[in-house]
C-alpha cells in the first residue's frame, strides 16, 4: 500500500513539475496565456472529480461556483480601474450607464484585496454548503441532485444577467485592472501569471489527493458505493457530502478567480450550461475516479478543441468531431483515459508493476478497488 502511495505522489509530482517547467520551453505570450487557461480547466476537473468521482455527486452546476469566483475577482479588479469609458467618479462604467449613483453595498467590501480573495473561495463554498445542506440533508441523491445543481446554476446565471446595474448583465464585467499582489504584477500574457496558475493547480491537486486519501475520503467513497450502509454505521452522511461539495466549490471558485486574471473579463457564460457540461465531459474523458486523470482529461480535451478549431479543414465541423470523439471514449473507455492507461500498465508483464504482485498488496487493492493504481 505505502509503495503504491509514494509512487502516486511521485507521479503527481512529476506531472506538476512538468507543468511548472513549461515557461522554460515556451517563450510566447499567446501560448502561455492559452496554456494557463487549460490549467484552470484542469483545476475545475479536479473539483468535479472530488465530488463526482469520489463522492458520487454528479454536479452539473460546477460552473456556478466557478463563475462566482470569477465575478468576485472581476469586482475587485473593476474597482481598481480608472473608468476610462465614462470618466466618472469611481463607479464602474456599467453602473453609470444604469443610472446607479453610489456603489451598491455588495460591492463595497470588494475594495479590499484580502476580502476579495477570500470571498472568491468562500462565497462559492458557502453557496455549495447551503445547497448541499438542503439536498443531502433531505436525502436527495443521484439524478435529482444533478438536476438541482443544474437548476441552481441557471437561476444564478439568470439573476446575474437580469441585475445588470450590479453585475454588468449580459456583457459581464469588462475593462479590468491588472492583478498585482505584493509588488508582483500578473499580466495575463506573462510567465508570472502562468506560474501563479500552475502553483495553484499543484496545491489544489495535492490538497485533493490528501483529502481523497484521508479517512474522510474513504468514507465518501463508501458513501458513493453504499450510502445506506454507511449511514447505518452511524456516520453523518449528509455532513460528509456537504463538506466535499463545498470543498469542490472552493476549488472551482479559486479556478474562477484565476480565469478572470487570465481572460481579463468575467461573463455570465462562465456560469453557463455549455461550460458546466463540458467539465463533466472532461472528467469523463480523463477518468472521474482519478484526480490526475480528470485534470489531464480537461487539458487534453480543451487542447484538442483549440487545435481542431484552429485547423482550417475542421473550421466548421470541429464541434462535430469533438462530439464524435466523446462518444467513442465513453463507449470504449468507460473509466476514461486514466482507467485505460491503468489497465494497460497492468497488462505489461514485469516492469513497474512488480511490487503489486506481492499477495498482500494485491489483497489490499482488491478490498479497496476504487483507490485504483498510481493514477
Amino acid at each position: 500500500m505505502s509503495g503504491k502511495i509514494s509512487r502516486q505522489i511521485l507521479l503527481y509530482g512529476i506531472v506538476c513539475l512538468a507543468i511548472l517547467a513549461v515557461p522554460l520551453l515556451v517563450d510566447n505570450a499567446f501560448l502561455l496565456n492559452k496554456y494557463a487557461r487549460y490549467l484552470i480547466f484542469g483545476m475545475l476537473a479536479i473539483a468535479l472529480s472530488l465530488s463526482w468521482g469520489y463522492a458520487g455527486i454528479l454536479n452539473l452546476g460546477q460552473a456556478m461556483t466557478f463563475g462566482l469566483g470569477s465575478y468576485c475577482m472581476a469586482m475587485f479588479l473593476k474597482l481598481k480601474t480608472v473608468p476610462i469609458h465614462t470618466g466618472s467618479d469611481g463607479l464602474p462604467d456599467f453602473m453609470v450607464w444604469n443610472n446607479v449613483t453610489e456603489l451598491p453595498w455588495i460591492w463595497v467590501p470588494f475594495q479590499s484585496m484580502p476580502f476579495a480573495l477570500l470571498a472568491g473561495m468562500l462565497v462559492p463554498a458557502l453557496f455549495a454548503a447551503l445547497l448541499g445542506w438542503f439536498m443531502f440533508g433531505g436525502r436527495v441523491a443521484g439524478v435529482y441532485a444533478a438536476i438541482i445543481t443544474l437548476a441552481a446554476m441557471v437561476v444564478v446565471n439568470l439573476i446575474i444577467i437580469d441585475q445588470q446595474s450590479y453585475t454588468g448583465g449580459f456583457n459581464g464585467i469588462t475593462d479590468l485592472a491588472q492583478f498585482d499582489i505584493l509588488g508582483l504584477a500578473f499580466d495575463a500574457y506573462s510567465a508570472s501569471t502562468y506560474y501563479l496558475v500552475a502553483v495553484c493547480l499543484t496545491v489544489t491537486l495535492f490538497v485533493a489527493l490528501v483529502v481523497s486519501r484521508s479517512k474522510t475520503g474513504l468514507i465518501l467513497q463508501a458513501v458513493r458505493d453504499q450510502e445506506e450502509r454507511v449511514r447505518f454505521f452511524g456516520y453523518d452522511v449528509a455532513l460528509y457530502k456537504t463538506f466535499i461539495f463545498a470543498l469542490s466549490a472552493a476549488i472551482a471558485g479559486l479556478a474562477g478567480m484565476l480565469y478572470t486574471i487570465v481572460m481579463e473579463f468575467a461573463s455570465p457564460t462562465f456560469l453557463g450550461v455549455p461550460l458546466s457540461l463540458s467539465i463533466v465531459i472532461w472528467v469523463a474523458v480523463g477518468g472521474r475516479q482519478s484526480l490526475l486523470g480528470a485534470m489531464l482529461g480537461a487539458m487534453l480535451v480543451t487542447g484538442v478543441q483549440g487545435a481542431l478549431s484552429e485547423t482550417e479543414a475542421f473550421l466548421e465541423t470541429w464541434t462535430l468531431v469533438m462530439g464524435g470523439l466523446f462518444v467513442l471514449i465513453v463507449l470504449f473507455m468507460p473509466k476514461g483515459l486514466a482507467g485505460a492507461v491503468e489497465a494497460l500498465l497492468r497488462r505489461i508483464p514485469g516492469g513497474e508493476r512488480k511490487g503489486d504482485a506481492r499477495p498482500a498488496a494485491r489483497q489490499g487493492s482488491k478490498s479497496q478497488p476504487h483507490l485504483g493504481g498510481a493514477l
Partner: protein, 415 residues
C-alpha cells in the same frame, strides 16, 4: 481477452493522437516583427460560424471574405496580398477572447475584423487595447465606447434615430411604447429615444424589457391592445424579434395604426420571421438591400454570385464589406515597412469610401463612421421600401445621450 486487448490498443491510439494535436506549437517562438512579409499582409476574421449567433455572423464572414477576394483579384494593396486568417469563436465570449489572442499574438495579424454582439466585442477589447492592435467592428451598437483600438463602421444611436423619431412622431403620433430585450443595448437606445421624444413633446406610455431569448409576448400584446400606442419602438433582438412580430400579426394588430419601429430588424431578421409578419413595420438603417446605387448593385450581384442567389445582404454585412475597403485605402497610403495597426489607424482617419449605402467617412476624432441613414418599410416579399433618406451623411456621436461627454482622439473628455 482479445476484445479487451483491442480496447487498449484503441485507447492507446486515441491517447497518442490527443497528445500529438494537443500542444502542436510547443517550440514556436515569436515571429519577426514586420507585419507585411513575403508579399502578404495578414488580417484576422473573427465571426462565429457555429453557435447561437452563427446565422447572422456567417453572413458577415462571407461579406468580409468577399471583399478580401475582390482586393486580391485586383492585385492586392500595393502588390501585397491580403491573407485572411479565419477563426470560429463559436458565439462564446471566452472563445472570442482566445481566438482574438491567437490572431493578434500568434498569427500577428495587422487588424482583426469581427464580432457581432457587444458582449463579444467587450470580451476581445482588452486584447486589442493591451497589444495596441486594431479591431474593426461592423455592427450597429449602443455607443458609449471610446476605444483608440477599434474602428466602428456600424451606426450609433444618433445616426439611426435623429431622422427616424421625428418622422414617426409626425406621421403616427405622440404616444410611444418602448419595448426591448433586457440588456445594455436597448436601454441605451431608449435613453436617447426618450431624450428625442421629450424634445418633440411626445409621451412614453410604457418602457418594458423582456429577458433575452424571450418568446412569449401575449401579455405584452395585450398591453399594446389596451394602451393603444401610436408607435411601438422595439429594441427586441435575436429570436425574440421573430416571436414578437409573429405574435403581433397573429393577434390581428394593424401596422397601419400601431407600427413597430426598429433599429435592428434587417432583411436577415425578416427572412427568419417571414415577410408577412414583418410587412408594414419600419426600420431605420444606413443601408437596405434595395437601395438604388451602382455600388450597391455591384455589391448585391457579387454577393449573390459568390454565395448563392437566395442570399440577402443587410446593413451589418454591408459594413463588414465596406470596412475592408477602408482598410485597403488606409494600407495603400503606407509603405510596406511602415504597415502596422497604429499606422493603419492614423491612415484611416478621415478616409472616405463610396460604399453601397453611399459615401462614408471615418471620423478622425472618435473612429466611428459618417453614415447615410434611411427609413425603410418592410414589404411582404421580405424586402424594404426606402421611404426617405437623410439629405447628407450624419456625424457619428457615440455619446449622443450624454451631452457633457465627448469622444476625442485623446480619449473621453468631459465637456
Amino acid at each position: 481477452m482479445n476484445r479487451n486487448r483491442r480496447n487498449f490498443l484503441k485507447a492507446g491510439a486515441a491517447a497518442g493522437a490527443f497528445s500529438l494535436v494537443g500542444f502542436p506549437h510547443i517550440w514556436s517562438k515569436n515571429a519577426s516583427l514586420a507585419f507585411a512579409q513575403d508579399g502578404e499582409i495578414k488580417v484576422g476574421v473573427l465571426f462565429s460560424l457555429t453557435g447561437t449567433t452563427a446565422i447572422i455572423e456567417e453572413s458577415l464572414n462571407k461579406a468580409t471574405l468577399m471583399a478580401i477576394e475582390e482586393i486580391n483579384a485586383d492585385g492586392g494593396i500595393n502588390d501585397l496580398k491580403i491573407t485572411a486568417v479565419v477563426e470560429d469563436p463559436a458565439s462564446d465570449p471566452a472563445t472570442f477572447a482566445e481566438k482574438a489572442r491567437k490572431l493578434v499574438l500568434s498569427d500577428r495579424c495587422v487588424s482583426v475584423f469581427g464580432s457581432y454582439t457587444s458582449a463579444s466585442r467587450k470580451a476581445v477589447l482588452p486584447v486589442f487595447e493591451k497589444q495596441e492592435n486594431l479591431f474593426w467592428y461592423p455592427t450597429l451598437y449602443e455607443g458609449r465606447e471610446c476605444s483608440k483600438n477599434v474602428i466602428y463602421t456600424g451606426a450609433v444611436p444618433n445616426q439611426q434615430q435623429d431622422d427616424f423619431i421625428p418622422w414617426l412622431v409626425e406621421k403616427f403620433g405622440k404616444r410611444w411604447y418602448l419595448i426591448g430585450s433586457n440588456y445594455i443595448y436597448p436601454k441605451e437606445e431608449n435613453n436617447y429615444c426618450k431624450k428625442l421624444l421629450e424634445g418633440l413633446g411626445a409621451e412614453v406610455i410604457a418602457e418594458e424589457y423582456v429577458p433575452l431569448g424571450h418568446s412569449e409576448f401575449s401579455s405584452v400584446i395585450n398591453k399594446f391592445r389596451s394602451e393603444k400606442p401610436n408607435v411601438i419602438f422595439s429594441t427586441v433582438v435575436g429570436d425574440s424579434v421573430v416571436a414578437l412580430h409573429r405574435q403581433y400579426r397573429a393577434a390581428g394588430l394593424d401596422p397601419a395604426t400601431m407600427p413597430m419601429a426598429s433599429l435592428t430588424t434587417s432583411e436577415n431578421e425578416v427572412a427568419a420571421m417571414g415577410g408577412d409578419a414583418a410587412a408594414g413595420h419600419f426600420t431605420s438603417a444606413p443601408y437596405f438591400m434595395v437601395f438604388d446605387s451602382p455600388e450597391n448593385q455591384r455589391f448585391v450581384d457579387a454577393y449573390r454570385s459568390r454565395w448563392g442567389g437566395d442570399k440577402v445582404t443587410h446593413f451589418v454585412s454591408e459594413s463588414a464589406y465596406f470596412q475592408i475597403h477602408l482598410f485597403r485605402q488606409a494600407v495603400a497610403k503606407l509603405t510596406a515597412g511602415d504597415i502596422g495597426p497604429l499606422a493603419i489607424r492614423e491612415a484611416v482617419k478621415g478616409e472616405e469610401y463610396k460604399a453601397p449605402q453611399g459615401l462614408v467617412k471615418v471620423e478622425p476624432e472618435n473612429l466611428h463612421c459618417w453614415l447615410r441613414p434611411k427609413i425603410g418599410q418592410c414589404k411582404a416579399d421580405g424586402q424594404f421600401e426606402i421611404l426617405t433618406q437623410s439629405a447628407d451623411w450624419l456625424e457619428p456621436n457615440p455619446y449622443s445621450a450624454y451631452p457633457n461627454q465627448k469622444c476625442t482622439a485623446e480619449g473621453l473628455k468631459e465637456v
